[in-house]
């Protein structure tokens, strides 16, 4: 028995002896494995946290709005821009992002912006309006001009579409950190990465509330989860998360961790784009910079951390408000804010901004143009991850006017024959600088698909005619504005073996007409004769000099615009006319900046003189007559007749395409109307595209063309019937511009010395002929 017992004891001791050795060895192995894991995790934690933490998509900005006395800008347009920028109405504009309106005066406290060529300070500016003009500015000191920050119009997102606007901890508004800590992790500033106390508290709170109100994991754990780990739920992952949280706390300060958290946290889904971080969330939900947010807005965002789609304030406003108020309540409970402060905040609405302000769906056609240019010059990964800032020339005010002109006119015109929807495109540029200010790619300006402004290549019809007439006017010894051109029927060999007999739109011929009349009435037969005279290849060369490399074959039908162009190409061509003969490559990007503000690319203004200014002036004079007495005159139903405009209608065979291209001193706009299936529209250039163009110009308040001729132009009085020099005293004589040295000599004055009946009779006949040319 004793032996037995002893034996058993010995056995037991042996067991222990044997197994303790094993356990010790196993322990060692586990320790080594664990140590290895820790080393590995530590490397992971540090590698990602110390490098570039996020891929930041390039951000694209509109032009900054300039403010100065004399600026063409209405109060309504100014307020619309401020609203898009997320400015809030206040009693007095005291802090950045606030605006107050009093009669014709708008007080605004700008936010300031670091432009590449210098900082614009945040400042109080008082803007007085007078009609469609800024009458004066006032502010600190002698304020001559001020700039608003540019509107962000989109970004260039990678395939996984994760977007953020990085912020620093100091930029966070009051109560953001407090409420985040209060709601998500009360012990954040005390714990070492994991918080057993927090887990217990969460369990207690949740039990009391009867649901999951609080999570047990710390902010550090949440950051680790989002930053390093997949969303898989397992104990092993949870353990990894805890170890990494401790390691993160070991290496980095609470502030660093908090800042990373603020930038990492997922706060919503915008289509295919994931909204990360409080910086972007503030823009996305409130259209405001984060630092301007008030308590009730901060509380909403903090409340959404728990479930961004569940508490989406746009889809679930009531649920979101409940959650927000709960957050505010917690702050009051913990003494962060007073009970009264909480009540005021709870009384406020959600204040969420209208959707889609900063997504790239806002201006898809323009963004398409920008992206195409950028992709030629930058690698995709640089655009989607390097945080580049791209400054463009888009003018949101004019863009909205162009969109509205397209939408309302299409609505008014109704569908094309066969109840087919009509499509449209429009390009607006600055007439003098060649910057693209607005771009509409179709009837639905929000739809990002077929971009007709860039890709719909259609025959341009009579839009080609200025090139024919310009080619002629470049030979001043042969042609002036009053040179008679024969508008009688003509048949010629178009292509080998095929004859071509162009007809006028009204199927009438007009005999001999002055050159400017042939253009302003858009007579086809006269144009073809003129084009044949100067030579089709010469005309095609002129088009290339105007800025469009077309590759057209030199068929006579090209003289009437059988060659196709996109609206953007037409804009390029007309830009050279609007710009006094100087070709300017169209520009939409002003500069590209690296995150540190270093310019990566500048796109400087460049010009090249392609035509003599005097010739262009004559050409423009003829195009002004298109508007005053020719095919474009219905524009003045909408636009004040004091505004001098130049333009040209274009219509193609069977009324398939309706075009209009025209300009003022400051704006060039090209409009196209047609069908995607290239069917008939029943519209001419005048009844279709001109209506869109005029509706736009009416709202854009263009500056009229200058009537001052450039050097190289002489004005002379002529007898319009004979084209010979005359005198202002002669009845019916008119003043016409000529190239210097090619004006007819002045005729003798007409004094009523003798019986003037026969002269009068003759003059009346002359006038009748002239009247015949007039509408």
């Amino acid at each position: 028995m004793g032996r037995k017992r002893r034996g058993r004891a010995a056995k037991k001791a042996g067991f222990w002896k044997r197994w303790s050795g094993w356990i010790f060895k196993l322990g060692l192995v586990a320790l080594v494995l664990f140590g290895g894991l820790v080393i590995y995790l530590d490397a992971v934690v540090q590698e990602k946290f110390s490098g570039k933490r996020w891929a930041v998509p390039a951000k694209v900005y509109a032009r900054p709005l300039e403010l100065f006395a004399g600026q063409q800008l209405s109060k309504e347009d100014f307020l619309a821009e401020l609203e898009a920028l997320g400015y809030r109405t206040a009693q007095a504009a005291r802090s950045p992002g606030q605006v107050s309106v009093a009669g014709s005066r708008v007080d605004v406290h700008t936010r300031g912006f670091a432009f590449s060529e210098g900082d614009e300070p945040a400042q109080h500016v008082s803007v007085r309006f007078d009609g469609n003009q800024v009458a004066g500015l006032a502010g600190h000191g002698n304020l001559v001009m001020a700039r608003l920050e540019p509107l962000m119009i989109g970004g260039i997102y990678p395939a996984h579409n994760e977007d953020r606007v990085l912020i620093q901890l100091q930029e966070s508004p009051p109560y953001l950190v407090e409420s985040l800590v209060a709601v998500e992790d009360r012990e954040f500033f005390q714990h070492f990465g994991v918080s057993p106390k927090g887990i217990l508290r969460a369990a207690y709170v949740n039990m009391k509330a009867g649901g999951v109100v609080q999570g047990g994991s710390t902010l550090t754990q949440q950051l680790v989860k989002n930053f390093y780990l997949t969303s898989e739920r397992s104990l092993l992952r949870k353990a990894n998360e805890a170890i990494m949280a401790v390691l993160l706390e070991l290496h980095y300060s609470k502030e660093d961790i908090l800042e990373a958290y603020l930038n990492e946290v997922f706060l919503g889904q915008d289509g295919r784009r994931a909204v990360h971080g409080f910086g972007l969330a503030s823009q996305y939900y409130f259209a405001q910079p984060l630092r301007e947010l008030e308590l009730h807005q901060v509380a909403l965002l903090v409340g959404m951390v728990k479930g961004p789609s569940f508490y989406n304030p746009r889809r679930q406003p009531e649920r979101a408000k409940q959650r927000r108020d709960l957050v505010i309540g917690m702050l009051a409970e913990q003494g962060v804010i007073s009970e009264q402060h909480a009540q005021t905040a709870i009384a406020k609405p959600l204040d969420v901004a209208a959707r889609g302000r900063l997504t790239d769906t806002s201006y898809p056609a323009f963004m398409d143009l920008i992206k195409r240019q950028l992709r030629e010059e930058y690698r995709d990964e640089d655009l989607t991850s390097e945080g580049l800032r791209i400054f463009t020339s888009l003018d949101p005010v004019l863009q909205n006017k162009a969109e509205r002109a397209v939408e309302t006119t299409l609505k008014r015109l109704g569908p094309a024959p066969g109840d087919v929807e009509m499509e449209s495109a429009m390009v607006v540029t600055s007439a003098q600088t060649g910057e693209v200010l607005a771009l509409v790619g179709g009837r639905d300006p929000r739809f990002s698909g077929f971009n007709r402004a860039l890709d719909a290549s259609r025959p341009i019809g009579s839009l080609v005619k200025p090139a024919v007439f310009l080619t002629a006017l470049e030979q001043p010894q042969r042609y002036s504005l009053i040179t008679p051109i024969d508008d009688s029927p003509i048949t010629l060999e178009a292509e080998p073996g095929k004859t071509w007999t162009p007809q006028n739109y009204g199927r009438e011929s007009h005999g001999l007409v002055p050159l400017h009349v042939a253009l302003s009435r858009s007579y086809n037969q006269a144009t073809v004769r003129l084009g044949i005279d100067v030579g089709v290849p010469e005309v095609l060369k002129t088009i290339e000099r105007m800025g469009v490399q077309h590759g057209w074959r030199p068929y006579p039908s090209m003289l009437l615009g059988s060659g196709p162009m996109t609206p953007l190409q037409v804009t390029d061509m007309y830009q050279t006319l609007a710009n006094g003969g100087f070709n300017t490559p169209l520009r939409s990007i002003r500069s590209v900046l690296a995150p540190d503000g270093e310019p990566l690319g500048r796109y400087p203004f460049a010009v090249q003189q392609r035509f003599d200014s005097a010739t262009i002036y004559l050409m423009q004079e003829a195009m002004i007559r298109v508007m005053t007495e020719g095919t474009g005159r219905s524009a003045y139903n909408l636009i004040p007749s004091t505004v001098r405009l130049a333009g040209k209608t274009g219509t193609t065979n069977d009324l398939r395409d309706s075009w209009f291209a025209g300009y003022s001193q400051d704006l060039l706009a090209v409009a196209w109307l047609g069908r995607d299936d290239n069917g008939a529209t029943r519209l001419t250039g005048a009844t279709g595209a001109l209506q869109v163009w005029s509706a736009f110009m009416r709202d854009a308040h263009p500056q009229g063309l200058s009537a001052t001729p450039p050097a190289g132009v002489d004005m002379a009085w002529i007898d319009p019937l004979t084209g010979q020099g005359s005198d202002p005293s002669c009845p019916g004589s008119i003043e016409e511009p000529f190239r210097k040295g090619f004006a007819p000599l002045p005729g003798p004055g007409c004094r009523p010395l003798i019986d003037t009946e026969t002269v009068k009779d003759g003059a009346n006949r002359v006038l009748d002929v002239i009247r015949g040319w007039l509408p």
Binding site: S50, G118, F582
Partner: protein, 230 residues
């Protein structure tokens, strides 16, 4: 024994972690940081920089360089408005007196220099003048890119102002783009009718640009035209 093991384990972990770590320093290099447009909009603390296009009282005259008869450069002074009224922010603004309108910035006292005075149509508006001043400062600092950007800003406001084109052409020349300098000066000429001094300046600039492009004959011709203008 058990506690010893735990202690050993903990010690090992600490040592391993310590070895793997960087000693507790914070090697954070946040390359994406200043991308934030938020940050860019931070303005409250920003000091008004000298680029700020405010016509400072002590800078109330701006010197536009226009070449003189000898072909060299000489200063022409033009004066901005004698300042806009600075209204108290809360009070309603009084009607602005016409004489204080920037558009009517005619100096009461014309510059004394002989043919340096600008003609009536050569007086520049407040914002354009302010931007020319900014561009001159930027050029003075050797920051030609910014000077060019400021001049283009002025050009957007006054696209047909030949003085802006003249200055832009000068900057392009300094940037080494003689061909563009020539084109910009040509464009300036198209809008400089009846302004012989400016025309001569533009022709001289064209001559310089043509010299740089190796076009001796063209340069000589431009110099000739500059002489004719004066």
């Amino acid at each position: 024994m058990r506690y010893e093991r735990f202690g050993l384990l903990a010690g090992c972990v600490m040592i391993l972690a310590g070895c793997a770590g960087t000693g507790g320093t914070v090697p954070v290099v946040d390359a994406g940081r200043s991308v934030s447009s938020e940050e860019m909009r931070v303005g409250a603390g920003r000091q008004p920089v000298q680029q700020q296009p405010v016509a400072e009282p002590e800078e109330s005259s701006v010197v536009v360089m226009v070449p003189d008869d000898a072909g060299g450069s000489r200063a022409i002074e033009s004066y901005p408005l004698d300042g806009q009224p600075s209204w108290p922010q809360s009070e309603p603004q009084p009607a602005q007196q016409p004489s204080q309108q920037p558009a009517q910035s005619a100096p009461a006292q014309a510059p004394a220099s002989s043919n340096g005075a600008l003609q009536g149509d050569e007086q520049l508006d407040g914002p354009v003048l302010a931007l020319l001043t900014v561009a001159r400062d930027q050029e003075g600092r050797g920051d030609l890119g910014s000077a060019s950007a400021s001049l283009e800003r002025a050009m957007r406001i006054a696209p047909r102002e030949p003085q802006v084109l003249y200055r832009l052409a000068q900057v392009r020349l300094a940037q080494g783009d003689a061909a563009q300098a020539e084109q910009l000066a040509q464009r300036g000429l198209a809008y400089a009718a009846d302004r012989p001094t400016l025309q001569a300046g533009l022709w001289n600039l064209i001559a310089e640009a043509r010299d740089k492009q190796g076009n001796r004959a063209g340069a000589a011709e431009a110099r000739e035209r500059a002489r004719v203008q004066l």
